[in-house]
């Protein structure tokens, strides 16, 4: 049993249910292969609302080249994306839309909160701004900075890659994960 450090959310990747996957060589190496494959093929959905979006453009651009990680196919359709990159301020008016986009994404999905605004509200501690997107959707990785340098965004992606690589295939069906989603009031499609 491996615990991914997340005190707030307590995401625990549990061992897959017995009988479904044994501990045999095949299952574990399949897990590994799938992990490796997913890791190198993360298609981001840039939910860019403000300044961080411009830095994301810089990350996509030649100098930093997000593509090196297999992540250059930006898919604006939530169905096709693996990673929701929330970049920029999420106002309360935007919150439901963000949640809807998250719900539309196909499992497995990951979320990265890029920049101060998305992670915590940043300097905008105001009546109209959501103080961190983790109030409405579960977040896997936070990237600090306002806006973060492209290096930091890439760093965040690499954190995600670590997470992706080590995730067991059973995690998305585990009761813990279902409970996590339920705590956010998100309907799960598969169960």
């Amino acid at each position: 049993m491996e615990v991914i450090t997340s005190a707030e959310k307590k995401i625990i990747t549990v061992d897959p249910p017995e009988g479904l996957v044994g501990t045999g060589f095949f299952a574990t190496s399949l897990d590994k292969v799938v992990g490796l494959a997913r890791k190198n093929s993360i298609w981001p959905l840039p939910f860019a609302t403000s300044c961080c979006g411009i830095e994301f453009m810089a990350t996509m651009a030649s100098h930093y080249d997000f593509a090196r990680f297999g992540a250059e196919r930006v898919s604006f359709s939530p169905r096709q994306a693996d990673l929701l990159m929330v970049m920029g301020t999420i106002a309360k008016k935007m919150g439901p839309i963000l949640k809807q986009v998250y719900e539309q994404m196909a499992e497995p999905r990951w979320v990265i909160a890029v920049g101060a605004c998305a992670s915590s509200g940043g300097i905008f501690d105001t009546y109209s701004v959501l103080q961190g997107i983790d109030q409405i959707i579960p977040v896997d990785v936070y990237v600090p900075g306002c806006p973060p340098r492209p290096e930091q965004i890439i760093d965040g992606l690499m954190r995600i890659q670590d997470l992706v690589q080590n995730e067991s295939r059973g995690r998305r069906n585990s009761p813990e994960y279902q409970a996590l989603l339920k705590s956010y009031g998100i309907e799960t499609v598969n169960s």
């Binding site: 991914i4 450090t5 997340s6 005190a7 707030e8 030649s62 100098h63 930093y64 080249d65 090196r68 990265i112 101060a116 992670s119 915590s120 509200g121 940043g122 300097i123 501690d125 961190g132 983790d134 977040v139 896997d140 990785v141 936070y142 990237v143 600090p144 900075g145 306002c146 973060p148 340098r149 492209p150 290096e151 930091q152 890439i154 760093d155 965040g156 690499m158 954190r159 997470l163």
Partner: protein, 182 residues
């Protein structure tokens, strides 16, 4: 409308010439340009293996500096917290006890000093505000992490000497800048 200043210059939309109407010349010209880039040296910096240089003044992660004797400079005056537009700094002052002179330079010091890196916008006002040159923004970064509690940086991670997350190499020299475009 009449010209408002003597600087006006009208840009006419030129009619397309016959050659331009044929699509292909412009397309081939464009393809020539992209092909030239195809063989050009790539601009990409292979982060994380290679790191781009940033200037020494870059506003990265905060450090609480010590003086030449290894004593903490901070005196918990709170100016940095006041200057912080994101209200990300929290501190608690304490009186220096006898025998701690080698640890703290002034009579007052920060018992607790926390910066919420998720709130911080790295504007550098704390550095400007500090009268003791204690807080300083380095060229390193706060790394991404899985847990938001991980971003409350206490003194353990702020005081000078803590191993930093080196994302970029620190200083650009003039010579490097001159060579940058060769």
């Amino acid at each position: 409308m009449q010209a408002l200043s003597n600087r006006k210059k009208v840009l006419e939309q030129k009619k397309m010439t016959l050659v331009e109407r044929l699509y292909l010349p412009a397309i081939f010209q464009g393809m020539g340009i992209t092909l030239r880039h195809f063989f050009r040296r790539k601009a990409t910096v292979h982060y994380p293996e290679q790191k781009r240089s940033v200037p020494a003044v870059f506003r990265g992660l905060h450090v609480l500096r010590k003086d030449e004797n290894g004593a903490e400079r901070c005196t918990a005056c709170g100016l940095c917290a006041v200057a912080c537009p994101a209200e990300a700094i929290t501190m608690e002052g304490g009186e220096r006890k006898a025998g701690e002179e080698h640890l703290y330079r002034e009579e007052k010091y920060a018992v607790k000093y926390e910066i919420n890196m998720l709130r911080c916008i790295f504007c550098g006002f704390c550095e400007d505000a500090c009268p003791k040159e204690a807080i300083f923004l380095e060229t390193t970064f706060a790394p991404a992490s899985y847990d938001r509690n991980d971003f409350i940086y206490g003194k353990d991670r702020l005081v000078e000497g803590f191993k930093r997350h080196e994302l970029v190499s620190p200083i650009t020299t003039l010579k490097e800048a001159q060579e940058a475009n060769k």
